[in-house]
Homo-oligomer: 460 residues x 2
Amino acid sequence: MHKYKGSSKLMLQPENTEELSQILKYCNSRCLAVVPQGGNTGLVGGSVPVFDEVIINTRRMNSIISFDKVSGVLVCEAGCILENLISFLDKQGFIMPLDLGAKGSCQIGGNVSTNAGGLRLVRYGSLHGTVLGLEVVLANGDVMDMLGTLRKDNTGYDLKHLFIGSEGSLGIITKVSILTPPKLSSVNIAFLACQDYISCQKLLFEAKRRLGEILSAFEFLDSRAMNLVLNHLDGVRNPLPSSIYNFYVLIETTGSNESSDKEKLEAFLVHAMESGLVSDGALAQDLNQASSFWHIREGIPEALMKAGAVYKYDLSLPVEKMYDLVEEMRIRLGAEANVVGYGHLGDGNLHLNVSTPQYDDAVRFVFLLHKSKNGPTVLLLIIIRTPQQILAQIEPFVYEWTSRHHGSISAEHGLGLMKAEKIYYSKSAGTVQLMASIKKLLDPSGILNPYKVIPQSLLS
Amino acid sequence: MHKYKGSSKLMLQPENTEELSQILKYCNSRCLAVVPQGGNTGLVGGSVPVFDEVIINTRRMNSIISFDKVSGVLVCEAGCILENLISFLDKQGFIMPLDLGAKGSCQIGGNVSTNAGGLRLVRYGSLHGTVLGLEVVLANGDVMDMLGTLRKDNTGYDLKHLFIGSEGSLGIITKVSILTPPKLSSVNIAFLACQDYISCQKLLFEAKRRLGEILSAFEFLDSRAMNLVLNHLDGVRNPLPSSIYNFYVLIETTGSNESSDKEKLEAFLVHAMESGLVSDGALAQDLNQASSFWHIREGIPEALMKAGAVYKYDLSLPVEKMYDLVEEMRIRLGAEANVVGYGHLGDGNLHLNVSTPQYDDAVRFVFLLHKSKNGPTVLLLIIIRTPQQILAQIEPFVYEWTSRHHGSISAEHGLGLMKAEKIYYSKSAGTVQLMASIKKLLDPSGILNPYKVIPQSLLS
């Protein structure tokens, strides 16, 4: 958070596609670099200017264009704030297929540009599946009308996918057409405790099978994440206070029938308790309790920020290997860093966070004093590493480890500025080369979001 | 069916990616055109040679590479036959996210190349959502390793989407990684009758809402399709024989709990009967009956072939407009053509078929005789139109109508040879231009599947 601070002398806020097209046309003809910006909630510096780029912010393009209640297809402008779309759909009896912590300020255009994942991916899949159409303005100002509203269209290459997740480096998304699922009336949430990681895995396997079609979230956090939330956020209570467990799992089901869904979830929980996978658990009894369960999971990033400096990693890994990385990192970093693991277990997505106290760079030593009869004596001297030294312990280790286990070094946060040069850890050289060729084809002057996504050496 | 017959002097069947790469490298260096071929079950001529292309058939590349029971990710070679994959997964407790009539001979590489839709799209979404990774060989023989197995990977452009649905014109798919859903134990099928099309639509709306998460198919056929199946296929019985209704709807639910699913479906059917949306209905009582219900829907193409010459159209349209086209076509073509409408109503996908008796081209007149007391007299003379004349009545009308209603002229069959020049009915000029640029970037000598997908004028 706030890791990247850019500065730019100019931020333009076009009101419609035509204005945005004119801006790009002008910038392209003068070789002026631009950085597209939505809600600016990204974590990898994708939407901050690096030098003196012109910021193009889509916030004023925020109209809902149409909604079809039969098909559930919503068409809207890129600047619509996710939470506003969620509220709009709620009144129509539908929901957005994506939901994430930043919903109060992130924009749908940014969500699509970064291929945002979030809390509902396990149920509704990625935006590559739910986005039906896009309108995009290319670097030269050309407006690409790919704003279809059909579930099926096999008339040639489905080019919208190029722009989903390209972080504004191939074009600027101006309109989005998205398939929204009907809102189902029955939502149940369970907060469970597991003693070990293998139980979490087995619980996931069983949940996929026994809850099947109603499973809508399977999130996990370790005891350190839980402690952070309990210690740093006001008014948070541990739903399972009798003991501190090693792992907590949040399971949400969403279905159309209250009684049969509850029955199914309860039967699943009885099975999980009896087979020893779960040590303790609580079922939310009302909406308040449900939102307090979610608040624990969603509050982790805020608690981390309050606890000190944070190094954040967003990794996809095979589920069975995922937590090994957290444990190896703990051994590497020792006691002075708090290594926290949480995330979307149902999707194989680990948020690995390293939290350290915010010491001044100058303070390198801590003396622990021992008072004995003979007066105080120095018992221990701990050398506190500088942020640079800690970072050197984490990287490139974390990327190498992920690459070795065929994971992704960015599951949902994108590459942005932070990881553009690290792309080879997760993509083959041939693929990166082809990415660069496509970038040159669509943006020959390289004005769109320079220094992001693709290694600079391939573009110059 | 059998509309396109190509001839080629050479068919190569490489055993692995390396061999296929060598073939393409050679062909590219000599500017020899190739046509990739899987099970050759396509309907638009995408896999037939036009002049003297070398056929590259993937049938010998048919190994299952890995299957992960925790994540449900299957990795296999392109030549695996869909039905074999379905059987393999069945033993592991999983299913393929796509299922279609041609499963006995179509290959997964072809399915992905053509972005096959089929019967389960309404539940599991398109291949753009479920395919997690691909290995593809480019025209110059370069092997692109994009064979990820992760649900989330946001490290740069997701280039595999370029190849999904590109009908072998950008590269040849050699390996596929796909997310497979757990097999759910409870499957229920209802066969229902509706008096009018508006009731079918309302039924779909209600089914999405009341069956929600367990709805796995929503298919429809009109009375003409039903009559064709009853008259031309052996051993098919009408599940609702008391009367002939105008429309029939097949609803399938798939869930994890037999009793609650059945309860939910029955409650839905009671509601549908009481509100008059459904005139009659039958619930399959066992597996045999379930498969006989499916046989009616899946048997329509075969019945059409037996009935005479068929003109086949595969269209996406807004659900509320869909059947208007069938009715307008009936008025246009008059009594000598049997205009049949059926398809995946849940996805807004209409299969419009025009069936005509197979007259010899020379027979243009039919005399109807009337026997009166004064001996036989010619009462009526009907001019039978030639196939060319009928075609001229259908096209371009059907494409213009679809375009005017913002539909797709190819929902799931692709463009192939048949519709390459018709692409502008469903794609904007800018998009088609960008498609052509990408084709030139990936296949500069134009050796891959020439004359298909993209209008020839843009490539020469």
